[in-house]
């Protein structure tokens, strides 16, 4: 693909980044991008309050190919360390086209339980935007997350990304999304989990609703599926686990832009 076309594509996609590009981890993606009330290491890429209950340190890496053939990719690494005062987590992710455009996001999260039911998290992010031959831009943002566990089956969560509306300076027309996400999940049985989320994006004033279902077919294998309605997208995926190692894969199916596959590997100590 020629560079000008790539650049045009990425600019078009970036301008509408909140709606079209999903940089969440495969489990969250496959569940329709319903991350507000989910737990696990991949909460570092969704609602960081979801790491507060974790007892084991973990490392994870993920890779996304956005819209097969477009050569737009995301890579990310995550780590979390539980401590006496709470859980610390780190996320480093890169998104873009090789030698043409790149966005770097590095976040440090602190999450802890307040009593047996309430979890909260605060995340500080560093953002870097780089377009070769044009320049480089930096900024910071914050994220706040909260989850409440009614019981072992039912959880609700809320997440506010970039409440301070930080952005790159005027030279770079790229936004740091300001977004509120509320969601809930309910575990119908040991096998079935259903999640529902609603999102509001302040920049494009768009509301999105999404829903996902996780079905544990056998002890070490799960199937997932989901949809979001604005824009309409379908999601599917699966996950394997073997002792401390887990592997997840997902695909986002956009009616016009095509399929975005992604994979992730996690090791829990």
């Amino acid at each position: 693909m020629c560079q000008p076309y790539k650049l045009l594509l990425i600019i078009c996609i970036t301008l509408n980044a909140n709606a079209q590009v999903n940089r969440g981890a495969p489990r969250v993606t496959a569940l329709g991008n319903t991350g507000a009330s989910l737990q696990g290491v991949y909460a570092l890429a969704a609602n960081q309050a979801g790491i507060a209950k974790l007892k084991k340190a973990a490392l994870a890496a993920m890779y996304v190919e956005h819209f097969i053939g477009s050569e737009i990719r995301s890579h990310a690494g995550m780590a979390l360390v539980p401590g006496r005062l709470g859980v610390m987590g780190m996320y480093v992710g890169k998104y873009g086209l090789q030698d043409a455009y790149s966005e770097l996001k590095a976040g440090l999260s602190y999450a802890r339980m307040f009593g047996p039911r309430l979890a909260m998290a605060l995340t500080m992010n560093y953002h870097q935007l780089k377009i070769p031959k044009y320049g480089l831009n930096n900024t910071f943002s914050a994220e706040v997350g909260i989850q409440y566990f009614f019981n072992e089956r039912w959880t609700i969560g809320g997440h506010f990304a970039n409440p301070g509306n930080f952005s790159f300076n005027n030279e770079a027309y790229a936004e740091i999304p300001v977004r509120v996400q509320l969601g809930t999940n309910y575990r119908f049985s040991d096998q079935v989990l259903i999640c529902v989320d609603g999102k509001y994006s302040f920049h494009d004033k768009g509301v999105d609703g999404s829903m996902g279902l996780e079905y544990k077919l056998i002890e070490w294998f799960v199937l997932r599926g989901g949809i979001s309605v604005n824009h309409f997208k379908q999601y599917t995926g699966f996950g394997f686990s073997y002792h401390q190692l887990s592997f997840d894969a997902a695909a986002t199916i956009h009616p016009r832009l095509g399929i975005s596959p992604q994979v992730a590997l996690c090791y829990a100590f």
């Binding site: 119908f188 049985s189 829903m211 279902l213 079905y215 599926g225 009616p255």
Partner: protein, 684 residues
Amino acid sequence: MLYVMRFNLLIFFVLLMVAVESSWAQQEESELIVEQLIEELADELGDEYNYDEIMERLHHYHRFPIDINKTQGEELRELRFLSSLQIMALLTYRKKAGQFISTYELQSIKGFDMATIERLLPFITVSKARAGKKHVTGNTLERGEHDIMIRYGTVLQHSAGYEIKGDTGGSHYMGSPDRYFVRYRYKEPKLFQLAVNMKKDPGEQFFAGNNRFGFDFYSASLYFHDLGKIKKLVIGDYSLQVGQGLSLWSGLSFGKGSLLQNAAKQGLGLHPYTSSNEVLFLRGIAGTFVHKRFELTPFVSFRKLDATPADSAGTFSSLGASGYHRTSTEIHNKAAVDQWVYGLNIQYQVKNLEVGANIHQTHFAKELVPNQRLYNKFSFKGDKLFNTSIYYQYTINGLYLFGEAAHSFQGGFATVNGLINSISHDVSIIMLHRYYEKDYYAFYNQGFAEGSEANNERGLYVGLMWNPSRKMNWVGYADYFKFPWLKFRVDGPSQGYDLFSQFVYMPSKKMKVSLRYRFRKKQENSGANNTVHLLEDMLRHQARIEVKYSWLPNIGFRNRLELIRYKKGVESNELGWMFYHDVIYKAMGKAYSGNVRIAWFKTASYNSRIYAFENDVLYGYSFPAYSNKGLRFYSNIRYRLSHKMTVWARYAAFLYANPVIGSGLDKINGKLKSDVRIQFRFQF
């Protein structure tokens, strides 16, 4: 004046009947249950379909319930609202736990929620045949029974089509606005059934002109069953429903709606055709023969179909689908082409697996040459079409797999595959993927599709059913579809999606609340009158709140508020609403019963129309579109004259704000459009 007199007579007659009482509750109850079910089944299909066949079947099983200790599942399929998974679960339960002692046991069967059980209970019974005792049911037909039904209806205001006189040369309706329908059934238990339908639609001639022998449409079938190796034999009009409907499915077919399980079609195989629909059936002879685990169904059909002539002589451009023969053009096109259909269906069943294959040929006496339009580029052309398909269904541990792959020779392929799975005790999922090539074609194709038939479409349908308690249930689905080639009024490849959510809460047997939301997005040609059309998104949001309740003995109430928003492109943005109030008098132990509706509606145009099911005379149905601004009123009365004779009467009216109703030949100058129906039934 004639109509006023007729109406006065009608009122007098009805009042006379209401003055007498007798005991007969069963049929009344049956009518209510069946109407509720039809409303759920038919849901979004509107009034273009005929529901009389399914109504007749449901009434039959209400009167002669299915013995769940005897059935092999086929009768349960005919009810249409049970999924294959549920039927299989019932049969497996019976096999493992022994015969049913009571219908209360249904609650122990996996996949049977309260809503399903309540729907099912009126149509089943539990025989006392246990420990080798002879099977006895409390409600079977012991001897042959004749059933004659006569229906008359008319619109009281004359539309333009009746005002134009023949000598002026303009297109007009050749017959009267009266509607006549005669239905006769004779059932000889354990042997055969004879069914005859005769119909004259409004505007069609009666004992005159083209219909000098009387009615415009006649249909008859003689159905034998359980004759040793001959499982079924139909002479006359019949329907064949095999696989998932890609290749051969005549008669009524359901698709998307609040009963998600209907996405997986359950073919009934060979059946006598008893509907008054004039299009979707076969006519000739067909039989189903059983040999061990095989079922063979050879069939042959010959019909004279309505067809529009093409430009070149001896050809036709399309087949008629309305069944109306009112104007000189419609009469000219009536029975204009001979059609032969013949073929064979083979089915094999072992335990939980059923596989089948069918091959058939459709042969026309003239060549079909579709109009020269780009969207018709891949349509079928010619006078012979070979179709074949293979299909399967398999059940294992709460998982039901189904599908069909079909091919039209010299054309393309089509396949549909899906699953229903009970993923926990209260959650079920349904998924269906379809892939229909643009050059796939079958004349009796009613596969699951967003479009009118299974071709030129790809899509994925995913639905969830959740029953958190006996009193609540939620269903939702998302369907995404793509049309790779052009369609009528869609000058380009297009796509869309359909989202549906319905929550039902039943706090008691006397109250039911349902909330529904549906969103559809499709692409259509822009409204602008251009030579080249661009596609625009057409969005339709529909929200509905419905409450059914009863606080008085024998009287039920029903209210519905429906809101619609229709948006096409940037220019057209319409809103509409409809509210109705129903009062239903349920005459338990009384000879008479009835119901009344008053509705208010306002929609910006026909685009934002709202469909609502209406109660009607027995086996009649009404599913009109409420559009523009106005009031709707109807009233139905049923009266049992004796145990052999029943009479129904209906008056319905639209009162519009506009002084002109409709357009073309259906245009009425005035604000009122009202119609009456009266129906008699004799059973002996």
